[in-house]
C-alpha cells in the first residue's frame, strides 16, 4: 500500500518522469498504431519492432556503452531498412505480403539475437542493461534517455495531429489524394518514419517483442466504442497510457519485473472488456439485441394468431388457445402476454383476450406486412404461393414503414394475397 501511495503521489521526481514518459509513449504509439490498424497493416508494426534489435546491438557495439543517441539511431536505421526491404520485396518479387513480413521479422530478429550473444560473450560491463530491450523495463530508464524518448513521442503526436486530414486520406483513399495532387508517396514515407520512431521510443520501456501490441491493441480495442476518428484516437491513447502507467507501477513494486508483459496484460484486459461490453458492437449488447428481437418476434406471432382467430369469425379468443398454439414455449408465452397487457395492446378478462384499438392496429400491421411480402415474392420473384409463407414469417418483423409504403406502391394497393386472403388495412373492420 505504501508503495502504491509512494508511486502515485510522485514524491520521487524520477517516478514522475517515467510516468510522463510512458504516457507520451503510450499516446504516440497508440496514435500511429490506430492509423496502421485502420490501414490493415498491423503486421508491419510487428516486423519493425522485431527488426530494430540488430540496430540496437550495433549501436551499443559502436558506442561501447548504452548511449541513447547511438541506440536510437541504430534502432531507427535497422527499422527503416526493414520497412524499405518489405516494400522493395513486395514490388520486385512475387512473394505474398505475409511471407515477406514473416521473413523480415524472423531474419532481423535472428541477427539481433546473434549480436546480443556476441556482446554478452565480450564481457563488456555495460551490457547488463541490454537484455531490457527484449521485454522492456520502464523503471530503469535514465532521465536523460527520457528526454529523447519523450521528445520523439511529442513529435509523433504533433505530426499526426497537424496532418490528420492527409493521413486519413492515405488510409481511406490514397488514389483520390494522388488525383488531387497530394504527394501521397511523401505522406506514406512520413507515416512509415513515424511508425519506426514509435517503435524506437518504446523499445526500452516495452521491449522489441511486445511493442507491436502497444501499437495495435489500443486502436483495436477503441474501435469497439466509436465510429468517429477523433474519439477513436482519444480512446486508444487513453487505453494505452493507462496500461502503460499500471505496467510501470508493477515493475516498480516487484524488482526485476519487466514492464512490457504487464502493459500488454492490461491492454489485453481493455481489449477483452471492449470486446465483451462495448455498446452496439460488444458481444453482450449484440446478445441482448438478439434476445430483444426474438422477444419481439414472439410477440408479433401472438398478436397474429389472435388476429387469425378473430378473422375466422370468432367473437372471443381464449387465452388457453394461445398456449395450445405455442405448446413448446409456455413460459415465453406467459411472459409475452404480460408484456402485451402492460403495453396496452390487449386486455384479458376471465381468460378471454380482447384487442385494444392500439393492439388491433398493430396486429393488422404485422399481418399486412406478411401478406404484402408474400404477394411481392409471388408477383415479382415468381415464387409459387405454397413457397412464400416461410420467408414472410421471418421478414414481417423487420420490414420498415418506408418498405411497406414501397410494397403498397409497387403492388398497387392490393386487396388479396396469393392465398386469396384479405390484406388488412387500418380502416378495415375486422
Amino acid at each position: 500500500m505504501s508503495d502504491f501511495v509512494y508511486f502515485f503521489t510522485f514524491q520521487d521526481a524520477s517516478i514522475a518522469f517515467v510516468v510522463i514518459g510512458i504516457i507520451l509513449l503510450g499516446i504516440g504509439s497508440a496514435y500511429v498504431g490506430t492509423y496502421s490498424f485502420l490501414d490493415k497493416k498491423a503486421l508491419l508494426g510487428d516486423a519493425i519492432s522485431h527488426a530494430v534489435l540488430p540496430g540496437i546491438c550495433l549501436g551499443f557495439m559502436l558506442a561501447g556503452e548504452k548511449n541513447p543517441i547511438y541506440i536510437v539511431s541504430g534502432a531507427f536505421l535497422s527499422g527503416a531498412l526493414a520497412t524499405f526491404l518489405t516494400s522493395w520485396l513486395k514490388s520486385n518479387t512475387r512473394l505474398s505480403d505475409d511471407a515477406i513480413i514473416a521473413s523480415i521479422l524472423s531474419i532481423f530478429f535472428g541477427f539481433g539475437i546473434v549480436f546480443l550473444t556476441v556482446i554478452q560473450k565480450s564481457g563488456n560491463p555495460e551490457m547488463a542493461g541490454l537484455n531490457q530491450f527484449i521485454f522492456g523495463n520502464a523503471i530503469a530508464i535514465l532521465e536523460e534517455d527520457l528526454y529523447i524518448y519523450g521528445g520523439l513521442a511529442i513529435l509523433i503526436i504533433i505530426t499526426l495531429s497537424v496532418f490528420r486530414k492527409e493521413f486519413s486520406m492515405l488510409v481511406f483513399n490514397a488514389d483520390f489524394g494522388k488525383s488531387i495532387g497530394y504527394p501521397m508517396g511523401a505522406i506514406r514515407l512520413v507515416f512509415n518514419v513515424l511508425m519506426i520512431l514509435a517503435v524506437v521510443i518504446g523499445i526500452q520501456a516495452i521491449g522489441v517483442v511486445l511493442m507491436a501490441a502497444l501499437l495495435i491493441a489500443p486502436g483495436a480495442a477503441a474501435r469497439f466504442w466509436t465510429d468517429n476518428l477523433g474519439k477513436l484516437l482519444l480512446i486508444a491513447g487513453a487505453f494505452s497510457a493507462i496500461s502503460g502507467i499500471i505496467g510501470t507501477y508493477v515493475s516498480f513494486v516487484i524488482p526485476q519485473m519487466p514492464t512490457g508483459p504487464w502493459v500488454v496484460v492490461f491492454l489485453s484486459i481493455f481489449a477483452f472488456v471492449s470486446f465483451l461490453f462495448a455498446p452496439k458492437k460488444g458481444v453482450l449488447s449484440r446478445f441482448v439485441a438478439r434476445k430483444h428481437y426474438l422477444k419481439k418476434t414472439h410477440q408479433d406471432h401472438l398478436l397474429k394468431s389472435i388476429f387469425h382467430g378473430l378473422e375466422g369469425g370468432k367473437k372471443t379468443f381464449a387465452i388457453e388457445e394461445i398456449y395450445e398454439a405455442f405448446p413448446y414455449k409456455k413460459k415465453d408465452t406467459r411472459h409475452t402476454i404480460t408484456n402485451l397487457i402492460s403495453d396496452n395492446l390487449i386486455t384479458v378478462d376471465q381468460g378471454l383476450i380482447t384487442f385494444t384499438p392500439k393492439g388491433k392496429s398493430e396486429a393488422k400491421r404485422i399481418v399486412r406486412l406478411h401478406r404484402l411480402w408474400e404477394l411481392y415474392l409471388n408477383e415479382y420473384m415468381n415464387i409459387a404461393p405454397d413457397h412464400v409463407h416461410d420467408s414472410a414469417e421471418k421478414l414481417e418483423h423487420i420490414l420498415t414503414p418506408e418498405l411497406e409504403a414501397l410494397l403498397e406502391n409497387r403492388l398497387n394497393y392490393p386487396k388479396l394475397d396469393p392465398h386469396q386472403e384479405t390484406i388488412p388495412r387500418d380502416t378495415d373492420e375486422l
Binding site: 485502420l38 481511406f172 488514389d175
Partner: protein, 262 residues
C-alpha cells in the same frame, strides 16, 4: 471508327500501359470534345479503369502521352475530378458522410490547412444535389451501395472541376438512382462540363451518352453515339479478346521481360 476533334478537351496520344509485365492497353489514340457526356464501354478486363487511371497519373505509362486542356496533368489538376471505383476503398473507415464529401475541397485547400465553414457549406450543397442531405452525419459503413456511390459523386461535385472522370459510378446502383445520377450528369454537361464515365451496361449507355469510347485492350471506336454503335463495332468490342493479342501478352509474361517498357 475513331473520330478526332479540333481543340480537344482531352487528347490521348498513342498510349500504352502495362501492369508489371503484361500490356493492358495497346496504342490508344483518341481526342474528346468538351461539354459532352462520354461513356467508356468494354468487357471485363478491357482496360477501361486503367485508361482512367492513366489519365489521372495513377498508373505508370509505358508509352505515349496525355494532354488535358492542352496541358500536362499537373498544370490542370484543380480542374479535374476523379471518382474511383466504390470497391476500391474500405467503407468501414471511421468517417461520416460529410467527412468524405469534404475531401472534395481538399485539393483547393492544399496541405496543412483544415477545412472550415466555407468547405462545409460547399459539401452540404453538393450533398443536396445528389439527394443525400438527410445522411450528412451518417457513418459511411451504414450506407447502401447506391448511397455510397452518391457520396462519391457529391465529393466529386465539391471539387468544382471542369472535367469529371468516373470509374463505374453505376455499379451496384438501383434503377431509380441510376436515372437520377444520369440526369445530374446531363445537367452538368449542359452547363459546359465534360463527364467521362466507365460503364458496363450497353443498354443504358445507348440512352444516355453523347459520345462513346469502345475498348478491348485496344481502342475499337471513339465517336458520336450515332456513328459508333454498330453491330460490327459492338462485336469487335464484346466478341471476346483478340486471340493473337492474348498469345503475345502471354509470351511477354512468361519471358518476365516487357520489351514495350524502355
Amino acid at each position: 471508327m475513331i473520330t478526332h476533334v479540333e481543340s480537344p478537351i482531352l487528347e490521348i496520344h498513342d498510349l500504352t500501359v502495362s501492369y508489371d509485365q503484361s500490356p493492358v492497353l495497346w496504342n490508344v489514340d483518341l481526342s474528346l470534345p468538351a461539354g459532352k457526356l462520354i461513356g467508356i464501354l468494354g468487357p471485363n478486363g478491357a482496360g477501361k479503369s486503367t485508361l482512367i487511371k492513366a489519365i489521372m497519373g495513377l498508373v505508370p505509362i509505358t508509352g505515349g502521352y496525355i494532354k488535358i486542356f492542352d496541358r500536362g496533368l499537373n498544370d490542370v489538376r484543380s480542374r479535374i475530378s476523379y471518382v474511383p471505383q466504390r470497391e476500391s476503398v474500405d467503407w468501414n473507415f471511421p468517417a461520416s458522410v460529410l467527412d468524405v464529401v469534404m475531401m472534395g475541397t481538399y485539393g483547393k485547400l492544399g496541405l496543412f490547412r483544415r477545412p472550415g465553414k466555407k468547405e462545409k457549406k460547399i459539401a452540404l450543397d453538393c450533398l443536396e444535389k445528389v439527394g443525400m442531405q438527410s445522411f450528412t452525419d451518417r457513418q459511411i459503413s451504414e450506407l447502401s451501395g447506391g448511397q455510397q456511390q452518391r457520396v462519391f459523386i457529391a465529393r466529386a461535385l465539391a471539387q468544382e472541376a471542369d472535367l469529371y472522370l468516373m470509374d463505374e459510378p453505376f455499379a451496384g446502383v438501383d434503377m431509380a438512382t441510376e436515372t437520377a445520377i444520369f440526369q445530374l450528369l446531363q445537367e452538368m454537361t449542359a452547363s459546359g462540363k465534360t463527364v467521362i464515365v466507365v460503364h458496363h451496361d450497353i443498354h443504358s449507355a445507348m440512352n444516355y451518352f453523347d459520345w462513346i469510347i469502345m475498348l478491348n485492350l485496344h481502342l475499337v471506336a471513339s465517336g458520336p453515339k450515332a456513328d459508333v454503335v454498330t453491330e460490327e463495332l459492338l462485336r469487335k468490342t464484346y466478341g471476346g479478346k483478340l486471340n493473337l493479342l492474348t498469345k503475345v501478352t502471354d509470351i511477354i509474361r512468361q519471358k518476365d521481360f516487357n520489351p514495350l517498357k524502355n
